[in-house]
């Protein structure tokens, strides 16, 4: 997993979809009329602080009009990657492009980027409308345009009624909207969002997430790089997701593909908290499936990465893909002992011990949930579970 992957290598065959969409959207979005749709390119971008590498040769493409989420644990270099695009950190190596323009040596104020930072950083001495107008005024845009565009942007985020308020008179969610309006007012070619929802409480976060999705439907030609540590946000919004760890991109792919077929252990665990069981692959079967051995049991699973026969690998089972076995059947059965049962309102979460390995399962609330200590048999559909290559533990300092 130490080797960073390039986004091109993992790109699925959806190029035509994105192209078609951005062509459509350029006409559909009056707010961005006139601006060309541009993507973001990282080519071998490395950032080091005093010899400490915090971003290691990142190569990644954000296609025009697409939302790419960078997710990863705290300190994995997500913000650094974003700030490199904005121009606030200088790569020690590599190039950054916006559209076909190389911006690596361009000053931040000349990059035409919309940026929303984690704490919004609305200018406290300006009213909401003045905040939104700031970028336009700084560029010397005429008063007539400012007067027209500021209400337009505030309306886009549903804040037109709050134009005269100072930031301190707005709630966190409202400040967030104003910050987005401020970033959009300059008609940026790309929008950078750094954990934009992390300062909000759970309920507002959920509704802001819907609003962001709607915003992108309204402005489909806007290219967005979205940094978060929250998998729900990434899966909800992003077309593609990049998973970062220790300054490296360890996985990149279309959100659904990455979720269903994680390419390594870290991705499987970070995106969706998968159960991972050590198995040995036995023999390929028809339809992209493979047979694997788990202890005594023989199971079938999808083998998207084409792992060879006899290799040690991991069986990736999502908690919601496991079913309590009903009736008889001998295929794809995992037998274990119930360790704990939790009722969480809309679901039951059951922890099991399966041949010494811990397994988590979630299901719709049960009328008669199993008791702790009782045996339980589980079944799964081979198309829902994936074989993941097992990488040797990383060397320290590598």
């Amino acid at each position: 997993m130490a080797t960073p992957v390039s986004s091109q290598a993992l790109r699925a065959d959806d190029a035509s979809v994105s192209e078609a969409r951005s062509a459509f959207s350029a006409a559909a979005a009056p707010l961005l009329a006139g601006g060309r749709v541009r993507g973001i390119g990282f080519k071998d971008v490395t950032v080091a602080y005093g010899g400490l590498v915090v971003l290691a040769s990142l190569t990644l493409d954000v296609r025009p009009g697409e939302i790419v989420a960078l997710i990863g644990p705290s300190g994995s270099g997500k913000t650094t990657a974003l700030r490199a695009v904005a121009g606030f950190v200088r790569p020690t190596r590599g190039r950054i492009t916006i559209g076909d323009r190389d911006v690596t040596d361009v000053a931040p104020y000349a990059r035409n980027i919309g940026m929303v930072v984690q704490n919004y950083a609305l200018f406290p001495h300006m009213r909401a409308e003045e905040n939104v107008a700031f970028g336009l005024r700084a560029r010397g845009v005429s008063h007539a345009v400012v007067r027209e565009r500021v209400p337009e942007c505030l309306r886009l985020v549903g804040m037109e009624a709050y134009a005269k308020r100072f930031p301190r008179e707005l709630s966190g969610g409202q400040q967030q909207r104003v910050a987005i309006a401020r970033a959009l007012a300059i008609r940026p070619q790309v929008l950078l969002l750094d954990e934009p929802l992390s300062a909000l409480d759970a309920q507002i976060r959920r509704s802001m997430l819907d609003e962001l999705a709607k915003l992108h439907r309204d402005l489909p030609s806007l290219t967005v790089l979205y940094v978060t540590h929250d998998q729900t946000e990434a899966l909800t919004l992003a077309d593609h997701i990049g998973i970062m760890r220790d300054g490296k991109l360890v996985a990149f792919g279309a959100s659904r593909t990455l979720y269903r077929h994680p390419p390594n252990r870290f991705s499987a665990e970070f995106l969706g908290r998968a159960n991972l069981l050590p198995v040995t692959s036995l023999e390929p079967k028809a339809g992209g499936l493979a047979q694997v051995r788990f202890g005594e049991a023989v199971l079938a699973a999808t083998n998207p990465h084409g792992l060879p026969q006899g290799s040690q690998c991991l069986l990736c089972v999502r908690p919601h893909d496991l079913r309590l076995r009903e009736g008889e059947g001998t295929h794809n059965i995992l037998a274990g002992i119930v360790e704990s049962v939790q009722w969480q309102g809309d679901l039951h979460a059951i922890a099991l011990n399966v041949q010494g390995h811990k397994l988590r399962l979630t299901c719709a609330p049960l009328g008669a949930p199993p008791e702790a200590g009782t045996p339980l048999a589980l079944a799964f559909d081979p198309h829902d579970v994936t074989l993941v290559p097992e990488t040797p533990p990383e060397k320290p300092g590598g």
Binding site: F88, P108, M115, A121, G135, R182
Partner: protein, 265 residues
């Protein structure tokens, strides 16, 4: 609140009030009384009079008040501009050079004002730079003595300013000067005003250096008070002291009102 019981709170307030009266109230009260007295031989003065104030309003003293205020404003304004400039310039330096320059900027505030006066006297008493006997040397002395405080105040304000504001402004297309004018200066305005107030108060009260270098025709209030009391005109000196204190206070109150309006955060 640290003291919960009612009796305890009353006791704390009484103690604080007594201490305050003793340390601040008595000296100021005595001077205030003295400035109105015609004679003071008993516990309390006799023959209360406004004569000292009338003296002060006439002739030299009025001019000294004017000189002090002009000096205070000019030196504080210069210190504010230079101190802010320095603080802004040094903000983005690496840690070690900034530390060194920080220390250098604070040196004048550590040197006794008499030494600063003497140093200026010696340094500028010969051509090519002959400043002895000019007003400029008074302004320079005040500037040297107060610029450290201005720098310190503005640097503290800048250090507390989150970097995001400037970065967001920059990403929105604002060039350096525009950011300075529209974002940084408004956000540190309360610190700028505090710096100016402090400088002004220091300059108004400055005696040590001024008394060594002042030219005839540019006598500040503290120097005037000093020479009056030296001649034994204690009551006149008291009246002048009251004028000094009140005019300083007036300017500071005015500035603090501007400051609280600027402090929107």
């Amino acid at each position: 609140m640290l003291v919960w019981s009612k009796a305890g709170r009353v006791l704390a307030w009484v103690t604080a009030a007594l201490l305050f009266a003793l340390i601040y109230g008595v000296p100021i009260g005595v001077i205030a009384l003295a400035s109105f007295s015609g004679q003071w031989n008993d516990v309390l003065p006799s023959h209360l009079t406004l004569a000292h104030y009338i003296n002060a309003m006439r002739g030299d003293s009025a001019e000294q008040t004017q000189v002090s205020i002009i000096t205070g404003f000019a030196a504080s304004a210069a210190a504010l501009i230079c101190g802010s400039w320095a603080a802004l310039a040094l903000r983005n330096l690496m840690r070690l050079p900034r530390r060194v320059l920080d220390v250098i900027f604070f040196v004048p505030s550590a040197v006794p004002s008499v030494s600063v006066g003497l140093a200026l006297l010696v340094a500028f008493s010969q051509p090519p730079v002959l400043l002895n006997g000019t007003r400029a040397i008074v302004l320079i002395a005040h500037f040297v003595l107060i610029s450290a405080f201005t720098y310190g105040n503005v640097a503290a304000g800048l250090a507390r300013l989150p970097p995001e504001y400037e970065q967001v402004a920059e990403s929105l297309g604002a060039r350096p000067f525009y950011r300075l004018r529209r974002v940084i200066l408004p956000l540190v305005a309360p610190y700028l005003i505090a710096a100016f107030s402090l400088s002004f108060a220091l300059s108004m009260g400055e005696l040590g250096a001024t008394v060594m270098i002042y030219p005839p025709g540019w006598v500040t209030l503290p120097v005037g008070i000093f020479s009056l009391s030296d001649r034994g005109a204690i009551f006149d000196a008291s009246a002048l002291t009251m004028i000094l204190a009140l005019s300083t206070l007036l300017v500071l109150v005015g500035l603090s009102r501007i400051s609280s309006r600027a402090a929107v955060r």
